[in-house]
């Protein structure tokens, strides 16, 4: 199994069909462990039981940025190598990333109310995440706006790369401006400062959510490949009828494109 094999949509479908059940199983088990550990975690001396929100807030927040990173890599694949599987990966990731971002926003708000006394505050961290959410929505609107997928892919790729500027802004906003939101305590230079009792459940949940993303992403990519296959077959149908109609002269081997799915 080489990388070039993976690049072939049919091989990709076959491989993922084998992997997906296992991935889903591992994800479920890890999620269960993570949830159990979160439930068992002690209360924080400052935040009380609300610290439990951390175990879902932080993984979602991390993933919201990570998914944009994945899409940026895919965007490079689209623009530089013109690889159709990169288009598929980028398109499939957008709604999932939007969902994680939404969850980071909502769980953050729900945590903010007891901690800061307000659901929403216009500070740099929160706002840059909201902008990220808007950009996910904009990207999804863009995918929907264009009928031809390879054309949409190129436009979306440019926008994804430009939007990637926002990711470091989110990450470092707490250091650059003084905000309500607390600075990084897990992923920081010089090691984590978080207590072990919170660190373990958080890490397990983070891994579980990452696996969840991978699982959902692969499944969504399969759907997208199938959707393109449907599209190219429908095009073939139209072409074939055209081929048999009498007006046409000349010959053409009425098959559809090199597009993904036609393989």
């Amino acid at each position: 199994m080489t990388l070039t094999d993976l690049a072939n949509p049919t091989k990709f479908l076959a491989l993922t069909a084998r992997i997906l059940p296992w991935l889903a199983g591992v994800t479920a088990i890890l999620l269960a462990i993570g949830l159990y550990q979160s439930a068992m975690a002690p209360d924080d001396y400052q935040q009380g039981a609300t610290v439990k929100i951390m175990f879902i807030h932080v993984p979602n927040a991390w993933l919201s940025m990570f998914v944009w990173g994945v899409m940026s890599v895919a965007a490079l694949g689209t623009l530089v190598w013109r690889h159709p599987l990169a288009d598929v990966a980028a398109k499939a990731a957008a709604p999932i990333g939007a969902a994680f971002t939404f969850l980071a926003l909502v769980t953050g708000s729900l945590w903010g109310r007891p901690m800061w006394g307000t659901y929403w505050e216009w500070d740099a961290r929160l706002t840059s995440v909201l902008i990220l959410f808007l950009m996910y929505l904009g990207l999804m609107a863009l995918w929907r706006a264009v009928e031809d997928p390879s054309r949409a892919a190129r436009a979306a790729a440019v926008l994804t790369l430009v939007g990637a500027i926002n990711i470091p802004i989110i990450k470092f906003s707490v250091d650059w401006w003084n905000t309500l939101h607390q600075p990084a305590s897990v992923l920081r230079m010089g090691g984590s400062t978080l207590d072990k009792a919170f660190l373990w459940p958080l890490l397990v949940m983070a891994i579980a959510f990452s696996l969840l993303f991978i699982t959902l992403h692969l499944a969504a990519m399969r759907n997208e490949i199938l959707r393109r296959r449907v599209r190219s077959l429908q095009m073939m149908q139209a072409n074939r009828v055209a081929f048999t109609s009498e007006v046409g002269t000349g010959s053409r081997d009425g098959n559809a494109s090199q597009e993904i799915g036609a393989a």
Partner: protein
Amino acid sequence: MRLSGRNLKCVRGGREVFSSLDLSATAGEALAVTGPNGAGKTSLLRVLAGLLVPAEGSMALEGGDAELSLPEQAHYLGHRDALKPALSVVENLSFWREFLGGETEDAGRCLAAVALDHAAHLPAAYLSAGQRRRLSIARLLSVRRPVWLLDEPTSALDAAGQALFVGLMRDHLASGGLIVAATHLPLGIDARDLRMGGAA
């Protein structure tokens, strides 16, 4: 000079328009691309002009300027005529003359060559369909480019305009240029036929 395309394939909107198409034309030669509606004539010209990326294959201009790509040595005359209604006829022409650069010809003389000099200071918004086409043709004359890519160039021209245009094409070929023209009508000059298949 020799324009050649090898094994060209074009995919638009997820559908294959043509594939394994070869073509070649040498200096002084005209290629008439013919075929039914939807056969892919326009698509082929846009591929040659670098406006569509072919899914497969390659094309080249041998014996041209080695520093320049094929599109940079070509004129493209499409259905849309690249005229700004707000500018006058001569302003439109002068802009393209300066922007495209290279070996240029006086704008007034080009307008005279297409019999539009009397309208030089009219806004382009006021032109009739055939007058717009003449102005586009004047663009081909105002800057020298060895390759002309023409998409149904004679549509909207009256009989006098067509005769005039045939003369201009002859001159271009005689001076060592080459022409690829998509057309449903006879071009009026000696041309090799490139027939494309396909349905309406």
